[in-house]
């Protein structure tokens, strides 16, 4: 399992992460980020890609 944490003090809701891992990250109707806190290991590649493209470097991934 991978735990996903987005530092909402840093996140500017740019939505770049949404394009790398739409299963986990979405922009809601108010253009605010919503995300799932956990994802299966198979998604690691997509999640790392999402963390890489985040302009604010707000996404932290932890593997359990």
């Amino acid at each position: 399992m991978i735990t996903i944490d987005v530092d909402m003090n840093k996140c500017q809701h740019y939505g770049q992460c949404v394009f790398e891992a739409p299963e986990v990250f979405q922009l809601n109707a108010d253009d605010k980020l919503e995300y799932q806190a956990e994802a299966p290991d198979e998604m690691l590649g997509d999640l790392e890609a999402a963390a890489d493209v985040c302009p604010m470097q707000a996404i932290t991934l932890t593997r359990e």
């Binding site: 500017q12 809701h13 740019y14 770049q16 253009d31 890489d52 493209v53 470097q57």
Partner: protein, 410 residues
């Protein structure tokens, strides 16, 4: 084969270098990687240097360092605080400033850019700054004390962001001196440029456009600057932000085409001045110059934050195939057409853009209100080449798919 001869050498412990290494591992290369970096720091993220880190006392490398993924914890050597000085592509060796030789099997050039220096004689005066590195940012933060008179030469993104940060930090005065007619005009066009100016002026920032520096007064630190228009400004802190040059001096005599950044093909493989492609030499990030078929066939150096990642991904894939001994021709022939993306934060204004807005000859507000939140489209002739929004993230993000197909050559 001995270990050294299998080695991937990455020059520049930068974001682009790090992304290349990560993607090499993802593509199956488990062999040795050495980073040779001029700065004493492991790779870190630069955008906060003109924003949060510049205004937050105590922030340092920990606050901006990129995480080092587990795949890079083994078989990676970091040689930091040492600049490469020369490259011999025949012998496959890089020599660093101490004279030490670094043989490689494959070389990745990720040396980025550095700020252009003050265009006039600085007379050795203190108080003159540039902003590219963490150390630059810490020095500038020290200088941006409340009550300082700050003059910024250059009205591009970095100049404007520093102006915003200095204004927030309680500077007595913030003045932006620029050759151009309108701040950010080249990058964002006259419409949005003028609006950015308006928002800065509302915060007390003054603009001296179509202007330059004529001279400096002070001893031992700068106290006043004289503009070419004759105006004299109080100045304790002078920041030079007039663009950047590629760090390619160390490639002189190597035979690579490094006239304005390193020319590479769509596989990020270096092209020699005589046109020959070097399959084991790559350039990535800001220092690379390559055509993007989304726009045309002109090779360009593009300084947008998402491109170190995109070029690093591409180079990692091609290089891993090359090391495996696979034929890279098919991968290299597939179009490399990353959509450039940048953002900028100034006060509560959040700009987000896709495409190459600066190729446009015309821009138009298509949604929202320029003085509040809006979407601006950029055209070269009839062709949409870029979009930029103030706020309105969802609307701006929806443009991505419109750039998805490479356009015909012009």
């Amino acid at each position: 084969m001995d270990a050294d001869a299998r080695l991937v050498l990455i020059v520049g412990a930068s974001m682009a270098g790090l992304r290349t290494a990560e993607n090499l591992r993802r593509a199956g290369y488990a062999g040795p990687i050495t980073f040779l970096g001029a700065e004493p720091h492991a790779p870190y993220n630069r955008p906060p240097l003109s924003k949060e880190l510049l205004q937050t006392e105590g922030q340092g490398h920990d606050d901006v360092a990129f995480p080092i993924r587990s795949a890079l914890e083994e078989n990676v050597e970091w040689v930091l605080g040492r600049a490469a000085q020369s490259l011999d592509v025949e012998r496959q060796v890089v020599v660093d400033e101490t004279g030490a030789e670094h043989p490689y099997r494959a070389l990745v050039i990720a040396t980025g850019l550095r700020p252009k220096p003050l265009p006039i004689d600085d007379h050795g005066l203190a108080g003159i700054h540039v902003l590219r590195t963490l150390d630059d940012a810490v020095a500038l933060r020290e200088a941006l004390r409340p009550g300082a008179n700050v003059v910024i030469l250059g009205s591009g993104f970095i100049g404007c962001e520093i102006a915003a940060t200095a204004a927030k930090a309680g500077a007595a005065s913030v003045s932006v001196v620029s050759q151009s007619r309108i701040p950010l005009e080249r990058a964002l066009g006259p419409l949005l440029g003028a609006e950015v100016r308006r928002r800065h002026e509302a915060q007390g920032v003054r603009f001296f456009c179509e202007n330059g520096l004529f001279g400096l007064v002070g001893d031992p630190g700068v106290e006043r600057v004289i503009l070419t228009s004759g105006v004299m400004l109080e100045c304790d802190v002078l920041v030079v932000a007039i663009g950047s040059d590629a760090n390619t001096e160390w490639l002189e005599g190597s035979g690579l085409d490094a006239s304005d950044g390193v020319l590479v093909n769509g596989g990020m493989q270096a092209v020699r001045a005589d046109g020959q492609v070097l399959e084991n030499v790559y350039a990535v990030g800001d220092v690379a110059r390559y055509p993007n078929p989304l726009f045309d066939e002109v090779a360009r150096r593009v300084e947008h934050w998402n491109l170190p990642t995109e070029t690093g991904k591409r180079a990692g894939q091609v290089l891993a195939a090359h090391i495996r001994g696979d034929d890279c021709a098919t991968i290299v022939a597939a179009p490399f057409a990353p959509l450039p993306s940048f953002w900028s934060d100034q006060y509560d204004m959040h700009l987000l853009a896709f495409g190459l807005t600066y190729l446009a000859d015309r821009s138009e507000v298509v949604a929202g209100d320029l003085t509040d939140e809006c979407v601006v489209e950029y055209f070269r002739g009839d062709e949409l080449v870029g979009v930029c929004g103030i706020g309105m993230r969802g609307a701006v993000q929806s443009y991505r798919s419109r750039f998805a197909a490479p356009v015909a050559a012009h």
